[in-house]
Amino acid sequence: MTTVLAGDVIARRIEDSIPGAVEESTSRDVWVKPETILEVCRFLKGDSALSFDYLVSISAVDYIEYFEMVYHLLSMPNNHSLVLKAKCWGREDLTVPSITSLWQGADFQEREVYDLMGISFSGHYNMKRIMLWEGFPGHPQRKDYLESPR
């Protein structure tokens, strides 16, 4: 079975390495500051004990007051996984550092999050819509998007 690492333990490890990055942690998940995502991921990938070498998925959830970025990470050699989350407050001009420099697999997923949720990623080489066409009004996965504006 894949071991789901305890969020508290990982939060301490992250905090040791990158002070001030962790916002909150429970037994399952770790919340980090969105602007530190790239450093945290670099640490998680590079740390020899953790070695999260595989990015499973990137999701974004619209909680009205804030957006939550959810990163599912996996370590193939150790067979353990971690859910990394980041809260982005606000509705407009949201920017999160891109992790495409660490994982090539983040490319399409970040573009999808941008397309459907409207969170853009700084440092992504090709930040444009992926599913919808250029010039599509709005970001349809948001909760306040009800139908296409006329």
Binding site: S57, D62, H72, N79, Q104, G105, F108, E112
Partner: protein
């Protein structure tokens, strides 16, 4: 006047015989050699994730059928696993065995289709394709016995399956398990040793293990590169921990390995189906789940080893009868992440073959 050459840009798709759906690649060629590839998606985008937010947990099952429409069972399974994880439901034994069995039958279907179209991409004039479809038809008939549908099955429910197996299913399955290994041997005799296939597929479209892991590639494509990662072994769900099977691995990660991988996985799937059929006992087929599932507030990620790779559903519940967020981690989309690394520098014909060997499904890429 000096001879001047310039690269040619071709829009391969969205309507093209071998893009397996409405997929488009903007390719820059130098003669026959590929200089750059830019995949362009979205022609089949139906907004499944948005649609799911307005449906009950049971209704969403029909949406998952239409993701990867050649492996609906696996999609159903991944979805119900995610919801069961979210709601804390444990399905009964018989349902778990049935789920594993049909998921493996579906894997055979998907791999047959993949092998057939792969050979079609190689230019074999649909002959291997029709051979593969012959056996696919048998499995689809079995699905029809189980749930009345052939492609969009909606067979599984949160907490089990929707209907017990009809008695006439078992003899048909028994016959199938008898003749299917022979048919796989026939494919091998016809295809595996063919010199043209070997010269076309060996050493083309190589994907290294490092690139594969880095690009979030999963499924047969990842294992063909030699990475031993199969969720059925690494994170067993339902009754896979009781099954005895091998995970075939490739060595080079070329098109030939990916082809062999699918043939070998079909054999392993047959082993699993046999064991399921041996071990399954009578019993209830569905846990006591209300018609409208209301999972507690929270989130869960459920994943299975679908035929194309790791299919995952990230579900967020707000305690209502509909999912608050329904995110699909689609293997087809992510398996395309390394497309550029695999294609740049190879020839047009190899490009088609490599693309066919990744085995994507546009319903899942665009969702």
């Amino acid at each position: 006047m000096p001879i001047r050459t310039e690269p040619v840009t071709i829009n391969l798709g969205p309507q093209h015989p071998s893009t397996h759906g409405v997929f488009r690649m903007r390719i820059t060629f130098d003669g026959e050699i590929i200089l750059d590839v830019e995949p362009i998606f979205g022609y089949l985008h139906r907004g499944s994730e948005k649609l799911a937010e307005e449906r009950t947990y049971t209704q969403v099952i029909t949406l998952t059928d239409r993701l990867d429409y050649v492996s609906s069972m696996s999609n159903n399974l991944a979805y119900v696993l995610a919801v069961e994880k979210l709601a804390g439901i444990n399905p009964p034994e018989r349902a778990m065995y049935m789920r594993v069995m049909v998921a493996e039958l579906q894997r055979i279907v998907s791999h047959l289709v993949a092998t057939g179209f792969f050979l079609n991409d190689l230019g074999a004039l649909a002959t291997p394709l029709m051979y593969c479809f012959r056996e696919r038809e048998k499995i689809l008939e079995m699905f029809e016995m189980l749930c009345g549908a052939r492609i969009t099955l909606s067979y599984m429910r949160v907490g089990g399956i929707f209907q017990d197996t009809p008695p006439e299913f078992w003899p048909v399955l028994s016959d199938f398990l008898d003749y299917m290994p022979g048919y796989i041997d026939e494919y091998e005799r016809l295809i595996t040793g063919n010199e043209i296939l070997l010269s076309r597929t060996k050493g083309t479209g190589i994907l290294s293990a490092e690139t594969a892991i880095n690009s979030s590639i999963s499924g047969p494509v990842l294992r063909a590169s030699g990475v031993n990662w199969d969720l059925r072994k690494a994170d067993p769900y339902d009754v896979y921990d009781r099954m005895e099977f091998d995970v075939p691995l490739g060595t080079v990660g070329d098109n030939y390995d990916r082809y062999l991988m699918r043939i070998a996985e079909m054999r392993q799937s047959l082993r699993i189906i046999e064991q399921c059929a041996d071990q399954i006992e009578d019993g209830p087929i569905k846990a006591n789940v209300p018609a409208l599932v209301r999972p507690p507030i929270g989130d869960a990620y459920g994943h299975v080893e679908a035929p194309k790779g790791e299919l995952g559903f990230y579900m967020v519940s707000d305690g209502s009868i509909a999912p608050y967020r329904f995110k699909i981690r689609s293997p087809s989309l992510l398996n395309l992440s390394a497309l550029r690394d695999m294609l740049v520098g190879c020839k047009l014909a190899d490009m088609i073959v490599t693309f066919g060997s990744i085995d994507i499904n546009m319903g899942e890429v665009d969702r």
